[in-house]
């Protein structure tokens, strides 16, 4: 089967998204991979929302921009999306809607009794069950399989609700508006063990497996799920989440908890990140490990809270006043969100500095089928701690928390351990942590803090996919990488693609090697200035070979757009 893409649209608050997710889960159980994109407005009820689902036998890395099927429960879903329907596609719509006669062209337009079935058999708000009946049949499910889905969804909501929903399902399923030629034939089979997950959930799970037991945060789209998930996990495993008064407090509390020795994190998006500049600098100055997630959305200011963008990078690269070391990791897939969160905690502890996990709205919020994350307690590296015996020799104070060492890393002593008493301060300080503005000391301490992450520049954190040895390399991170991957599969050009997993410190040596290998590197990113490209140019002192390809309208690049660019670069 080729990739199959359907859009389900309706009024926000009517369960459009959960309907889509139910179908995705059911298809994933049958061996398919799915990925969805949710389009929603910044309001709770009312307004249009739609979910676009791409289904394939192979891993899906981005949602397609043209659809085989639109299932419209409201007029806006048609108005907004009909032009994206493929020529051979079908628009199904609730027959209650007034659909203009001249809409169709060659495309098939079929009214369905969505509301009517719900109303007749149950209640009008059971429209979602109608939709599952119609779409479930189309995607090859037997009736009893769909019955299971409905039982799982409504089993706990009372016998009457369940009975009515099942009645709705039955009538919808048996509606004869479909025939088998309308959709590709779905060959259900049992595939590898899979999970349905989005980036934020993977980050929360990664944090738990990395031993993070403290999270302070302030709700914000599109990062809140991380706190929500940890708030569910921590009571089961012994950990604490705090919803603070603001992001300034969230990061300060994270710094406090980490200083005390707990692996700690916070998560936010652009507006919160701006406020967290203060805490990042504090953690940088006192060399306290913290992990901060920035799920980027369109800025500046409040921007477009429900739209994706990758425009916080320039700010984060230099975040806060003064200079200090920090690490920016940039996962591109849900699985990487999981793995790199574990890595973030290890790096934070080893290098005693803030680590930022940079995602974007689409990566953070798009549920998708992934190969199941296997159970494994990952290796934990907590960095340098002074031994208790060593500390006991300092019973009257004098433990050198900021001892100057060759690699800039010094041993920590956690509150509660006798002999380790010391001061930490956001003021410049000496080896004992005491305030000092002595110029020699300042130089030593600056070098200690600035150079300690230097070895990370040697990591090969740019992953080039299936090298074709072309002359051009397309590079991206976050959800944009998924689009590159799909485009590259379809492209007949010999353009190579890569994802970058660590932006700060930038893997300069590796990039220089790539520059020697390719005529041009096209950095594909979702912001106005081409921020990643700018950073690469600056860090490598090269301007000519780095080309920027940007989009900043709140939507992901489309596969077609990237394909066109790839063809252009091939000539």
């Amino acid at each position: 089967m080729e990739k199959f893409t359907m859009l389900i649209g309706g009024i926000q608050g009517e369960g459009v998204v959960s309907t889509g997710i139910s179908l995705m889960k059911a298809l994933s159980r049958k061996g398919y991979y799915t990925l969805c994109e949710r389009k929603f407005s910044s309001r709770i009820k009312g307004g249009n929302t739609h979910i676009i689902i791409t289904v394939s036998e192979e891993e899906v890395t981005c949602v397609e921009s043209t659809y085989h099927v639109i299932m419209a429960m409201d007029q806006e879903s048609i108005d907004l999306n009909f032009h994206q329907l493929r020529q051979d596609g079908i628009l199904f719509y609730d027959q209650e809607l007034q659909v203009s006669e001249n809409l169709s062209g060659n495309k098939k337009v079929i009214p369905l009794p969505i509301t009517e079935t719900a109303k007749d058999q149950g209640k009008s708000f059971m429209k979602n069950t109608s939709v599952i009946g119609f779409l479930g049949k189309m995607t090859g499910f037997a009736y009893d399989e769909l019955e299971e889905i409905i039982k799982n969804a409504y089993g706990k909501k009372g016998q009457e609700t369940l009975t009515q929903n099942l009645a709705v399902l039955k009538v919808a399923y048996n509606n004869d508006s479909f025939d088998s030629t309308m959709a590709p034939s779905f060959q259900h089979k049992k595939g590898k063990a899979k999970m349905m997950m989005m980036g934020n959930e993977a980050i929360a799970l990664g944090a738990v497996m990395a031993g993070c037991r403290f999270m302070a945060g302030y709700p914000i789209t599109p990062a809140s799920d991380i706190m929500e998930n940890l708030a569910l996990y921590f009571p089961q495993i012994g950990g604490k989440t705090v919803q603070t008064e603001d992001e300034v407090a969230a990061i300060a509390m994270t710094v406090g908890a980490s200083h005390a020795g707990a692996r700690s994190m916070t998560a936010t998006s652009g507006p919160g990140m701006t406020l967290m500049g203060e805490g990042l600098g504090l953690a940088g100055m006192i060399e306290t490990p913290i992990v901060v997630v920035d799920a980027q959305r369109a800025g500046p200011s409040t921007g477009m809270p429900t739209k994706t963008e990758q425009s916080d990078l320039s700010f984060l690269y230099y975040a806060g006043h003064g200079e200090y070391s920090s690490i920016i990791l940039s996962p591109s897939t849900v699985t990487e969100c999981y793995e790199m969160t574990v890595e973030a905690f290890n790096l934070a502890d080893q290098y005693q500095c803030p680590v930022i996990i940079l995602t974007d709205l689409n990566l953070s919020l798009s549920p998708q089928t992934i190969d199941a994350i296997p159970f494994e307690n990952p290796p934990i590296q907590r960095g340098l701690f002074a031994s208790e015996t060593f500390l006991s020799s300092y019973k009257d104070g004098g433990f050198p928390r900021y001892k100057i060492t060759e690699n800039g890393l010094s041993e920590r002593a956690l509150p509660g351990i006798p002999g380790g008493q010391h001061q930490v301060t956001g003021l410049e300080h000496n080896e004992l942590g005491r305030p000092s503005d002595n110029p020699d000391n300042r130089k030593k301490m600056m070098k200690k803090r600035m150079l300690k992450t230097e070895p990370l520049k040697n990591r090969n954190e740019i992953i080039v996919e299936d090298q074709l040895n072309g002359k051009t390399l397309f590079m991206a991170y976050g959800s944009v990488y998924g689009v590159l991957k799909e485009a590259s599969k379809r492209s007949e050009s010999d353009v190579d693609i890569a994802r970058i997993r660590q932006i700060k410190p930038l893997p300069v040596d590796q990039i220089k090697k790539l520059m020697a290998q390719y005529d041009s590197i096209v950095v594909v990113e979702e912001n106005f200035n081409g921020q990643l490209a700018q950073i690469i140019r600056q860090e490598t002192d090269r301007t000519s070979d780095i080309v920027s390809l940007t989009r900043y309208d709140g939507n992901n690049f489309t596969i077609e757009e990237i394909l066109d660019e790839m063809e252009r670069w091939c000539k």
Binding site: K25, S28, R29, K194, M195, M196, E201, L205, V208, M209, G211, R213, F214, A216, Y233, Q236, I237, G238, G239, K240, V242, T244, E245, A249, A250, A252, M253, T254, V255, G256, A257, S258, H259, A260, G261, A262, S264, E278, G279, L282, I373, F375, N377, R382, D396, G397, L414, P415, G416, P418, G420, Q421, H422, Q423, V424, T425, G426, L427, R434, P435
Partner: protein, 288 residues
């Protein structure tokens, strides 16, 4: 333990006669009387003259950033509930840049203590109006005299639902020591506001001025400290100029009680491994 055991031998940078010396000594003495092991004491301060207090303690001390002593201190306490955590800062920290943290720390009621060293002026920036300066107070930024109404720390704390609120005076050290001790002993968030005169930039609210204006709560109160309305009236009647335990609600459950914290609530212990069974439980919502 003696008071001296909690010092680190550094000479404070405060001006001669600064009220903060007394706060430092009082904190050290209270810790000594309570026999708090030095390694179990975390002192977190903000920025300003007052912020320096943590740097003179032999304890795990944390000189944070302006206004943020409370979130940092709460983070430390939540991570390691076995520590005695004291946050300290000035009136700018507590009632200007960090006001919201003060209100929310009170609301959260974590078992810790917050000492506000109130001198009604920004000393370290060399004399600027503070959120608790009286109207008419002349500074470099208010040459015509302050116009804004001062914040009323006591009513702010009571209005936010504080479970322990006391006021002390640097020149009454014996009382201050006992107030800090009671505050630390209180199971929940305790706030001690100390009138701690600035001898350099506040020529109005001087030691002499406080001696003339301050009344002892014990002398004027007709109810006990658990009487909320009585506490409000006391602050109204004295215009806030009184010392002693103004209010204490021993019944109010603190964060630790509400969350049923146990020894296992210490998050600093060695990273526990997640069992396969637990992993399955955590990932159940993702399984198909």
């Amino acid at each position: 333990m003696e008071m001296m055991d909690y010092g680190n031998g550094l000479n404070p940078t405060w001006c001669k006669g600064c009220g903060h010396f007394s706060v430092l000594r009082s904190l050290q003495t209270a810790a000594a009387r309570m026999n708090i092991p030095r390694e179990m004491l975390a002192v977190v301060s903000g920025i300003g003259c007052s912020g320096r207090i943590s740097g003179y303690m032999n304890a795990y001390s944390f000189h944070s950033v302006h206004g943020r002593s409370l979130p940092v201190a709460q983070g430390i306490k939540l991570a390691n509930p076995e520590l005695t955590v004291v946050a300290a800062g000035g009136d700018g920290d507590g009632f200007a840049i960090g006001t919201s943290h003060t209100v929310h720390a009170i609301r959260r009621n974590i078992n810790m203590t917050y000492i506000v060293m109130n001198n009604q002026v920004y000393g370290l920036t060399k004399g600027h109006v503070s959120p608790v300066s009286h109207q008419g107070f002349k500074t470099k930024t208010t040459p015509e005299g302050a116009v804004d109404m001062p914040v009323d720390p006591g009513l702010l704390a009571l209005g936010s639902g504080v479970s322990f609120y006391a006021q002390g005076f640097s020149a009454q050290q014996d009382e201050l020591i006992e107030l800090i001790k009671k505050a630390i002993e209180h199971p929940g968030f305790s706030l001690v506001q100390v009138f701690s005169p600035c001898v350099t930039y506040n020529k109005v609210n001087t030691y002499q001025w406080f001696r003339e204006h301050l009344k002892s709560v014990e002398d004027i109160r007709n109810t006990d400290s658990s009487d909320y309305i009585g506490a409000v009236e006391l602050l109204k009647e004295t215009k806030g100029l009184c010392t002693g335990v103004i209010f204490q609600n021993k019944e109010k459950k603190c964060y630790e009680e509400l969350h049923q914290e146990t020894k296992e609530s210490n998050l600093v212990k060695e990273t526990p491994q997640i069992s396969e069974e637990l992993f399955q439980q955590l990932t159940k919502k993702f399984s198909l």
